[in-house]
Symmetry: C2
Subunit: 416 residues, 2 copies
């Protein structure tokens, strides 16, 4: 029996990789002063229906069902609705702006393809309660520094920065109503992937053609990002960011700056994406809470591909995974097992990662196991008791000491 | 809108508590040489049907549904079937014994009651491929040291140790067949909770009465645990363990040592439980893989109640949560925001948790925010540029230094 298609088993080596990604996300976010939160895996299906239009892709891919109590429930496909729900319920408890992040698993019934799984991990970060471009720059700087913490440089990735407001102003100047705006943005999102002919057919009711969209993108909108770019320049991060109005993001709710991170060779899907959504919390709370917000998500699947393809990132991962065991206690004389167990316990109480053989085994086999585990030291317990041997496995140097003198010696190991 | 009943929102303060529990589980397991693994949240429903008899409580509480592809799938209610599936698929890759743990979320459609939620976290640890009592002692020692790491002592909890084998020998000596054994064990599991009259009615077909069970429990079975107790004594852990044949565990698959951890006042449900299940992997792999195994689980819900009720554990939690921010950069002169941003970036690149105001604010308000965040140092950037003030917030001592001299000073902060 296997895992379901699109779902993953995390064997210890996979789990260590996953934890490296999670720990990198966490440590950089904490440096940025973001606080971690999380929500339930299962939510009321209504929470997702409310935010999305009928027929939206995210609803089509929802794992939704009736529970034993007859409630319509769904496995979370994204975090923003949960975040908006939580913020609306308790926002008065928190100083603004709220800088929150989470590392959670999400579920979408996707067609099987590279970079897409049905259960995936995603990092999300949001700044809630601050509308200034300083918040936009803070969130983009976090995205850049996350990528750098994985070992990527400006050679490997770029943040493509766009502005929904510039798009809306352009479209309104061309007489587009709300429905036409939605159509145009959906087409702009597919400019790189679908042929012009097909897009022109979709654009027909809007009075625009693909070339109009391309002209708008090419002209740029110098004013829109100026303060964001300036704040990023002050941080020394200009080299990672590129204004690019061809980025529009698929979702309807964005209201300002939007961005996506791509590998420089563009061989992969977006690594991260997000933007400003100043009306969403108000909408989801039926107008009760009105807070501006900006946020982004970064999944673990495409990121994992890029780590594999990028030597500097793979090496960083490899270094983080280097298996380290501190002590292996070798029982050279089975009649001394009780004494050996006492030493194992002492080592562990000192915080040392310590292992030993659960069954009688030849000394050579026990040393092999110590090397396999990458143990730094071996403690040999045998006929010389109360003397034991303390052996440094890399240098093969050893000394015989009284077992009572082990603790001070082990404390030094801990400080290594 | 709220979370579904039985599901939890983790606001930052809740999430920090949760992470403290997770990190404690992880760090002790690593000291014991256990490797972390995980599996998918969603599995084929068959995986759970296979292990459990028709009508078993765990199947009655399963979140099970048909996905968009028509597959019968279920939210995992426990880890053992996933573990057995993963081990059966790849056991040849791993040296024995395998010492694995996981920290995962599980789902059961439980009736609402204290200590029970519908989504909960659970730590699981298993030793696979070793049948000796040394493995039993290793897993029980891990359970004890997890509890101690939370700040509990022998005053607060006890491991009640029993043996399914002793029970089976007793029942066979009394002529019980397999069905009768199941009935008796189910009744033994409820001795403390259901009246004797009711249990005697259930026991009728087995030819035994409640008093027979009580007599067997009272007589004890001195031989059964001797090597386990001896190995625990060698580790200095005798004071945490108490042989007690009244523990039988609900599940059918246990074959040897079983145990549960309770708070000493018995005011709560079991904090952890597990045992030896030597036939389960063979059964789940249709006989392909035959490996002995022992494991246990510890959930976060009852544990959380006991932490709250126990001062030594609450204090340990509180110390772990003490909010620490390293640096708050105060922008005393808004025209120096770019310079301040550069300092923020430098601090973060040094690994310091650093924050600042995203909008112009009075100096006093910025200092307030720094104190609210528990920042250790403030860096004041203003008209004196290129001089800045470095202020230690606890002692209120401050010095004016050139901004270029900040880095060496900040490196010292990091070492504090």
């Amino acid at each position: 029996m296997q895992a379901l298609p699109g779902f993953r088993d995390f064997y210890p080596e996979d789990c260590a990789r996953r934890n490296h990604v999670i720990e990198t996300w966490r440590s950089v976010s904490r440096r940025y002063g973001f606080l971690e939160f999380d929500g339930p895996v299962l939510e009321s299906t209504d929470l997702y229906r409310k935010k999305n239009e009928e027929g939206a892709e995210i609803l089509e891919q929802l794992y939704s069902f009736a529970d034993r109590g007859g409630r319509e429930v769904a496995l979370r496909p994204e975090m923003t609705p949960t975040l908006a729900r939580m913020v609306a319920a308790r926002e008065k408890h928190y100083r603004k702006p709220m800088k929150w992040f989470c590392v959670s698993n999400f579920f979408r019934h996707e067609r099987q393809q590279k970079g897409r799984l049905r259960e995936f991990l995603q990092f999300n970060a949001d700044i809630i309660g601050e509308s200034s471009p300083q918040a936009d720059a803070e969130i983009i700087a976090l995205a850049v520094d996350l990528m750098r913490a994985f070992g990527f440089t400006a050679e490997h990735f770029v943040v493509r920065l766009s502005d929904r407001k510039a798009w809306m102003e352009f479209l309104q100047s061309r007489g587009c109503d709300e429905a036409a705006c939605r159509t145009v943005l959906a087409c702009a999102d597919k400019l790189e992937r679908e042929p012009a002919e097909k897009l022109n057919a979709k654009l027909a009711p809007t009075g625009l053609v693909v070339d109009d969209l391309k002209a708008f993108i090419a002209a740029g909108s110098p004013g829109a990002f100026a303060p964001v770019l300036e704040a990023l320049a002050a941080r020394g991060l200009s080299g990672f960011v590129q204004p690019d109005l061809s980025i529009v993001r698929g979702l309807a709710y964005y209201t300002g700056v939007v961005f996506e991170i791509f590998d420089r060779s563009k061989s992969l899907r977006a690594l991260a994406g997000g933007g400003r959504y100043d009306g969403l919390i108000k909408g989801l709370s039926d107008g009760a809470i009105d807070l501006p917000a900006i946020g982004f998500g970064m999944g673990d699947v495409v990121l994992g591909h890029l780590i594999n393809e990028t030597p500097s990132a793979s090496e960083k991962l490899k270094a983080a995974l280097a298996q380290t065991s501190d002590v292996y206690v070798i029982i050279a004389d089975e009649s001394r097992r009780a004494e050996a167990l006492q030493i194992v316990q002492t080592c562990r109480e000192l915080g040392l990662s310590t292992d030993f053989s659960l069954r009688p085994a030849k000394i050579g086999k026990q040393f092999q196991e110590a090397e396999h585990l990458g143990a730094c030291h071996a403690v040999l317990v045998g006929q010389e008791w109360p003397q034991v041997k303390l052996k440094h496995l890399a240098t093969r140097s050893e000394e015989a000491i009284d077992h009572a003198a082990l603790v001070p010696n082990l404390k030094n190991i801990k400080l290594r």
